[in-house]
Amino acid sequence: MAVTHESTAGMGGIRSAGDLVFRMELQKMKINEAKKYVAEKLRVSVMDLADCAVMKDLREELNIGTVQSRPDAGVGIQTKFRIAELLGVPINSVDMFKRQAGL
């Protein structure tokens, strides 16, 4: 059922910008506000956010993780360092990593 939901109505996770918009909803932004916020930060249009063609290029360029695992591609916590900076919101695991690594 997860596949049906994601393909009929979902933003597509890290195929596009679903994870980023979700992070803003966790900050109590409603969907349109969250999309607008993320689009402005990424300097794309709101329509682009769920477009995997635009977002694949952009995610690779920003090194914030995609569904493909490639050499030199950002993955996991590395990507979240960049996402926290890009969106201007704290990410709990990033702050924890910094504390633990003494950064």
Partner: protein
């Protein structure tokens, strides 16, 4: 001969209905929700659009490009390794959701999906969260149910109100629930705090209200404490049903009686508590058609989204939100539910 459309019933089985029957079910469904919730019914235009969605000749329908929403998950890591029986651990399950299923977020959880039994294994849960956070990009929440039933004897310290009530011991039943609320708040705060300290992106309280209004009270009070303690963390509360079952009947939150509250009132309490995402639930009636069920859900969802200042997600799992009550709900029905909830009700996510 009158044309008939292939549709579904709430028990997931196919049925054939005429245009008039479908339109009647839509009207009956929306009026039922309006009557129960004392909220506006769908407009004629909305009912016409819902009719179009339901009778679309396509097997799968979808939202229009640009109207996509985000998807959150309850019982996250219970799904692939446990319910689907796929031999993978929870880290693998989360990464599969991120990389293969393109989920916008997911949830780490334990098979014993309640806050109380997590306490003795909190170290293992923290370790799992910390490892998962190193490997993932999408937001990963930690989730469990408040499940107040676990605080009753013999599993817990409180007398069992489900036995006391039929025996006419009303006061004792109410006191037992009040006692359980206090235990549950402590457990939820303890487990959630520990998981936040281990990097969780948010905390999900799932199936809130399954044990009645005391369950709701405990959850809201716990979120109020947690949201003050961790102001940048997101808290999601997913409800068990369309109204708070009054097992106690007199419990309040910020002066409002919780029992009997429908989603558009539940969400206001959630907001006041500090909830970040509200997961509304409307029960699917397995005897009624998809048209009837979906019209009801859309009616509740539209009003809830309208009054909410926080994002509202619909619980669209088995047997709620218009999804048929089956472990394998038909994709044609699921896709129609999604489209209607996003495009007519204006929800922020699923």
């Amino acid at each position: 001969m009158t044309k008939k459309y292939l549709t579904r019933y709430g028990d997931n089985y196919v049925g054939e209905l005429t245009e008039a029957e479908i339109r009647q079910d839509i009207e009956d469904g929306t009026l039922d929700a309006a009557d129960r919730g004392q909220i506006p019914a769908m407009s004629q235009d909305e009912m016409d659009y819902l009719y179009e969605i339901i009778t679309s000749p396509q097997k799968i329908v979808s939202v229009e490009p640009g109207k996509e929403v985000v998807v959150s998950f309850d019982a996250g890591t219970l799904k692939l390794p446990t319910r689907n029986g796929i031999p993978m651990d929870r880290l693998q399950a989360v990464i599969t959701q991120e990389r293969a299923l393109a989920s916008d977020s997911t949830e780490l959880c334990h098979v014993d999906y309640s806050y109380k039994p997590i306490k003795p294994i909190i170290s293992e849960e923290r370790q799992a969260m910390e490892q998962i956070q190193l490997m993932t990009t999408i937001p990963v929440l930690y989730g469990a149910m408040p499940n107040l039933g676990l605080y009753t004897k013999p599993d817990g310290p409180c007398d069992n109100w489900a036995e006391l009530l039929p025996a006419g011991k009303i006061t004792e039943a109410m006191e037992a629930q009040e006692e359980a609320v206090e235990h549950a708040i402590k457990d939820i705060v303890f487990v959630a705090s520990s998981m936040i300290e281990s990097g969780a992106d948010g905390i999900n309280l799932d199936t809130v209200g399954a044990s009645g209004d005391a369950d709701v009270k405990a959850s809201l009070e716990a979120v109020r404490i947690l949201s003050k303690k961790y102001p940048t963390t997101g808290f999601e509360v997913g409800m068990a049903g369309e109204f708070n079952l009054g097992m106690h009947g007199e419990l309040t939150f910020d002066g409002e009686v919780l029992a009997g509250m429908y989603p558009h009132k539940q969400v206001l309490m959630a907001q006041q508590a500090g909830v970040g995402i509200f997961g509304m639930a409307v029960n699917t009636n397995s005897s009624q058609s998809l048209a009837w069920n979906l019209a009801r859900v859309v009616t509740f969802a539209k009003e809830t989204a309208k009054v909410a200042t926080i994002p509202v997600h619909a619980n669209v799992g088995m047997g709620v939100g218009g999804i048929p009550l089956s472990i394998i709900p038909a994709a044609d029905a699921v896709s129609r539910v999604d489209k209607a909830l996003v495009e007519i009700a204006g929800l922020d996510g699923l």
